[in-house]
Each structure stands twice: as structure tokens, then as C-alpha cells.
């Protein structure tokens, strides 16, 4: 029989405090289905309206050819055969027939080399999971400002619960919420016709969850660190709104970074949003490239650990004045 050490008891108590705070957040969330609805409605609108309407694949379609007046081609006959004198005329319909037959292939190749998949909807749908996770994680920092304003935080601070648990519970909550919401978005995307690659399997979903968890941990820790001392929710709201969209636009969420100007590519290459989005695409719509996936996950893990540590250290420092 093992006697539980004093440290063991303490650790259990700490875990319980952490779990109590996390389940508080989850309960609040579950009691208000409207919050869930409001959170996922925006990415759904983007995905269905923007993703479906931006039918980029159709830009290079055969119907485009009908609108182009293709001239006959005249070439000197001796280019084809030294015996032929004069000019050879290739009639335009031959050219147009030929183009017509290879055009879909060109279009497909262009889409694939740009987006990695043949349809923009699939590309964007995955980007929307990133967007939802960013929004959920950044907004979770608002709740600590409310806790401060409504006095809840003061009561918590007078209890022995570790200060880090206060921050970690919110980080955890954001991550769990993001995972849940992503499942909905992914399911909806499947109904709307997202094209999973042949390497996609249900097991990939676990890896997807892990990626979302890590990313959400990092982002929510970052924004909670901003919010630790904030007493005005307007200020925090401004911070959140200031960063949300730029984070999206300087990543591959909407468009491949390869096509961006160089300075933007530089930002995108350190933007964690690029890594989560790529990881998610590797796991769903791309033929998985394991080397790339490994880089993505390494980046996300370092990002998560680094920022969560910063969040915890700042919580020790700033939660007691």
C-alpha cells in the first residue's frame, strides 16, 4: 500500500481547482447555445457563400474559348516541309478544337499547382476551421476581463487555486470549444461537397484535433496574456479585433502564400495560422506529405508550449497586484 504524499494531495487539489474552473467555462458555454451558433455562423457564411461563389476553377473553362476570336494561323510552308512552297494556313477551328480538348487539363493543373486541390471550396473550407479557431481563441481572453469586472476573479484569487489554473482553464476551454466547432464545420463541409484526398481516414481526425488543440492553446495564451491586467473590455475587444483579420490575411487560409509578394510571404512563413492551416489540409484534402506535416506539428507544438509558459509566468506576476 502506498501512502499518498503531501505533494500528491496538493497536486490533486490543484487539478481539481483547474477542472472546476474549466467545467465552469464549459457549463456556461453549453447553457447558451446561441453563443455556439453565433460563433460558427460566420465561418459557415464564408465557406458556403464565399467558397462556393469564388469558383476559381471555372475561370479557365472551355466556354471561355467561345468568347475568344481565334484567328487562322499562317505559317511559311517550308517550316513544315522544305518541299512546300508558299504559305500554309491552319484553320482556326482546328486550333480551337485542340485547345478545347486540353483546356480542362490546363485548368485542373493550374488549380492544383496553385491550391493543391482542384476546387477552391475545399481549400477555403479548411481555412475556415483555422478562422473559427482564431476567433474562438482570441475572444476567450475577453472572459477574464469580465471575471475581473464582475468580481468573480477576486473571489478566485482569495482561494488557494493556483494562479496558473485560472489562465489554463480558459486556454483549455478555448481549445475544447474550437475542437467541437471544427467538427461541425468539417461535417458541414462534407455535406457541401468538400473533396477529401485518398489519404484521408477517420484516424486523421485525431491528428486534426491535436493540431487545433495546440494552435488554440498558443493563440489563447497569447491573448490572455494581454488581458491579464486589462480592466476594460473595450480595450481588449480592440486588441482582439485588431489582430484577428490580419492574422488570417497574412496566412494561407484564403490564398496560397507562394503567390504573395515577398514581404508578405515572410510574414506568412512565421504566422502560426499558416502552419495549422497547412496541417489541416495535409490531413484532409491533400495527399499527405509527412515531412511537411512533421514541420507543421513541430512548429505548432513549440508555439503552444512557448506561449502557454509565457501566459503562466505572467499570471503569477500580474494576477496579484
Amino acid at each position: 500500500m502506498m501512502l499518498e504524499s503531501n505533494d500528491g494531495v496538493k497536486f490533486k487539489a490543484m487539478l481539481q481547482g483547474f477542472w472546476g474552473l474549466t467545467s465552469r467555462e464549459l457549463k456556461k458555454w453549453m447553457k447558451e447555445p446561441l453563443i455556439l451558433f453565433m460563433a460558427i455562423i460566420q465561418p459557415i457564411i464564408w465557406m458556403t457563400l464565399f467558397g462556393k461563389s469564388m469558383n476559381i476553377g471555372a475561370i479557365l473553362s472551355t466556354s471561355t474559348l467561345n468568347e475568344i476570336n481565334i484567328p487562322d494561323i499562317r505559317i511559311p510552308g517550308n517550316l513544315l516541309n522544305p518541299q512546300i512552297d508558299g504559305v500554309v494556313t491552319i484553320p482556326s477551328f482546328v486550333l480551337s478544337e485542340n485547345l478545347r480538348s486540353i483546356f480542362p487539363t490546363i485548368s485542373l493543373k493550374a488549380m492544383e499547382s496553385t491550391f493543391g486541390v482542384s476546387d477552391y471550396f475545399s481549400y477555403l473550407a479548411v481555412g475556415m476551421i483555422s478562422m473559427l479557431t482564431i476567433f474562438t481563441s482570441t475572444f476567450s481572453s475577453m472572459s477574464i476581463v469580465w471575471d475581473r469586472r464582475l468580481g468573480f476573479l477576486y473571489k478566485v484569487l482569495s482561494t488557494p487555486v493556483p494562479r496558473s489554473a485560472i489562465v489554463l482553464s480558459k486556454v483549455f476551454n478555448a481549445a475544447l470549444r474550437s475542437i467541437f466547432q471544427s467538427t461541425i464545420i468539417l461535417g458541414l463541409a462534407a455535406i457541401l461537397g468538400i473533396r477529401f484526398s485518398s489519404t484521408f481516414s477517420l484516424l486523421n481526425i485525431l491528428a486534426i484535433y491535436l493540431a487545433i488543440f495546440l494552435f488554440s492553446m498558443g493563440i489563447s495564451s497569447l491573448f490572455l496574456a494581454f488581458a491579464l491586467r486589462s480592466t476594460r473590455h473595450e480595450t481588449q475587444m480592440a486588441v482582439v479585433n485588431l489582430f484577428n483579420l490580419p492574422l488570417m490575411f497574412t496566412s494561407n487560409a484564403f490564398f496560397p502564400t507562394r503567390m504573395m509578394p515577398e514581404w508578405l510571404q515572410g510574414i506568412a512563413s512565421i504566422n502560426p495560422v499558416s502552419y495549422i492551416t497547412d496541417a489541416l489540409r495535409q490531413l484532409t484534402i491533400y495527399q499527405t506529405n509527412y515531412a511537411t506535416l512533421l514541420i507543421d506539428f513541430t512548429y505548432l507544438t513549440v508555439f503552444a508550449i512557448l506561449l502557454t509558459t509565457v501566459g503562466i509566468i505572467l499570471s503569477w506576476k500580474y494576477l496579484t497586484k
Binding site: Q16, G20, S158, T159, V161
Partner: protein, 334 residues
Amino acid sequence: MNQDVIVVENLTKIFNGSLVAVDHVSFNVKRGEIFGLLGPNGAGKTTTINMLTTVLKPTEGRAFIMGYDVVKHASIVRRSIGVVPQEYTADEDLTGYENIILCGDLYGIPRDTSKKRAMELLELMELTRFKDKKVETYSGGMRRRLELACGLINRPKVLFLDEPTLGLDVQTRSAIWNYIKKLKEEYDMTILMTTHYMEEADNLCDKIAIIDHGKIVITGTPQELKNSIGSDIMEIIILEEDDVTNLINRIEYVKEVKKRSDRSYIVRLENGEIVAPLIIDNLSKKGYHVVKLSISKPTLDEVFLTYTGRAMRDSEEARETIMSQRITLRRARR
């Protein structure tokens, strides 16, 4: 053995480098005492409590709870205290029961223990019927009782009550007083409370410190404080029309006598109840009949006025402002 459960030495808090909210405050609280910090709004009561409950770091000075320094041994202190803050701090989206269990979790109390205690506390606070209702539906009195229940979940040895009856109507206030008295007997706690209601301090507290502008102006039992500013006031009416001023004045303990009207006298004296029979005796020996005798005690209002030069009433308006702000804030969240 040291009987002082709370020891405060020169505790000082300066906000933003210049606002001195608490100014070298010192006092001791003995085991089992109800100690009251009495003072108007902005006097520094909440700031003092926040430092004692480890939420704020003192700028200067030290404080010990059960022998543990509130800064150096903050986590030990946190484990042995219960706090009922001035604000309603329960989570409005959760039920009363969920809130109490959450408090239990924060203290690391095993769930089966905290569930049992939660039911006991809900019963004690007469909230059992409402335990599964969201706190947003609670009245002010119910919220305050819920806060009390939360503050007691860890069976604290020292309980801090910050304005436990702030903003409640008279009936609810006296109900809360009864709970506090009951609690003290049931759990054998030392209680430090703040209030700006005179009668509350007078009724509940074994000892009072009057605090104003961050400084303690005087400490003592309510009786000591009242005695310190002087004496009881006795009004005597006799049947006869003769002037008995000198007769009364000669009686021991009597400080001053004034004839108010034909048959009525105002007497200032110490310990009026004890001296009253003596006065009646003396008068009847000389053939006078006392038809009415009433004694009024000096109130803490007068004590406050004497020591601070202001009446507590001046701060009532500020309280209204705070209450209305609190309500606005709650609305703003929806």
C-alpha cells in the same frame, strides 16, 4: 499560546504611487471575536480586506493570519480563510449549487465532501429550494446568502465579510445578521467584517475599529467607544413643581443636571441603568414622585462624529452611486 488570530502591523497600501488607501493600520483580532472595521465609503476597508485575503500586496507593513504572513505564506493563508467579498461574485450563469461546488473545487475539497457540505450550507442559508436555479434569478438577499455559503465551504477558521449587508433592505439585513451569529456559534470562527452601518457594528461586533481616510482613529468594544465620548443621557419627570436640580446633582455618578421645563430634568451620567434606582430612591426619600424616567445611550453615530468630525450619513449618497453602477454593469453584460 498566541490568542491573536489576526495580527496587522502598519499595513499600508498606496495605489498608483500616490493614493494612500490604507495608512499604517494596526490591530489584533482574538480567537472567536467578531471584529468590525467601521468607516464610510472609500475609507479603505475593502483594500484592507483585500490585503488580508492575499488578493492585494501591501505597499508597506505586515499582516499575519493564524501566524502566517499574508505575503510570504499566501497559499497557507488562503487555505484557512473564507472570504465573502463586497460584490456579488457568484457566476450568474450557473446555479447556486454549481457555484458552491465550484468554490469547493477551488479549495481542492474532494467532490463527495463538497457535495455534502453544499447541501448543509444551502439548508443553513435557506436556499435549498433555489439551488438549481440560475443565480441571475436570485434576489439581493439570496445572492448574499449564497456568497456566505461559498465562503464557508472550506470550513474556514477565519472569515472575512466585506459589507455583508450592503444594499439590502432592513429586513434582509437583520436576517443576514442572524445567519452571521448562527455561523459563528456553529463553526467557532473568528470573523473580521467591514460595514458602514452603525447599528450593524454595534449589534454584531465584539470589537470595532473606526477607520477613516485609511487610518484607524479608535479601537475598542462598542461600549468602550461609546463610553469614551461621555455618558448616558437621562430624562426625569417628577410630579411636583419644586426645583430638584441640586438634589439630583448631589447624587454620586451624576455629572450634570439641567432643568428643561417645569417638571422635567436632563441628567448626564455614567451607567444610567445602575444609577437610576438610586436617583428614584433619593427623590422619594424627600417626598418627590418620579412619573417618568428614560435613559438614552450615546450611539456610534456620535462616536464617529466625535472622532472624525463628520457624520457617517454624508457617505450614503456614494453608496447609492456604487449600487447603481453595479446594476448597470450587470446589464451591460447581457
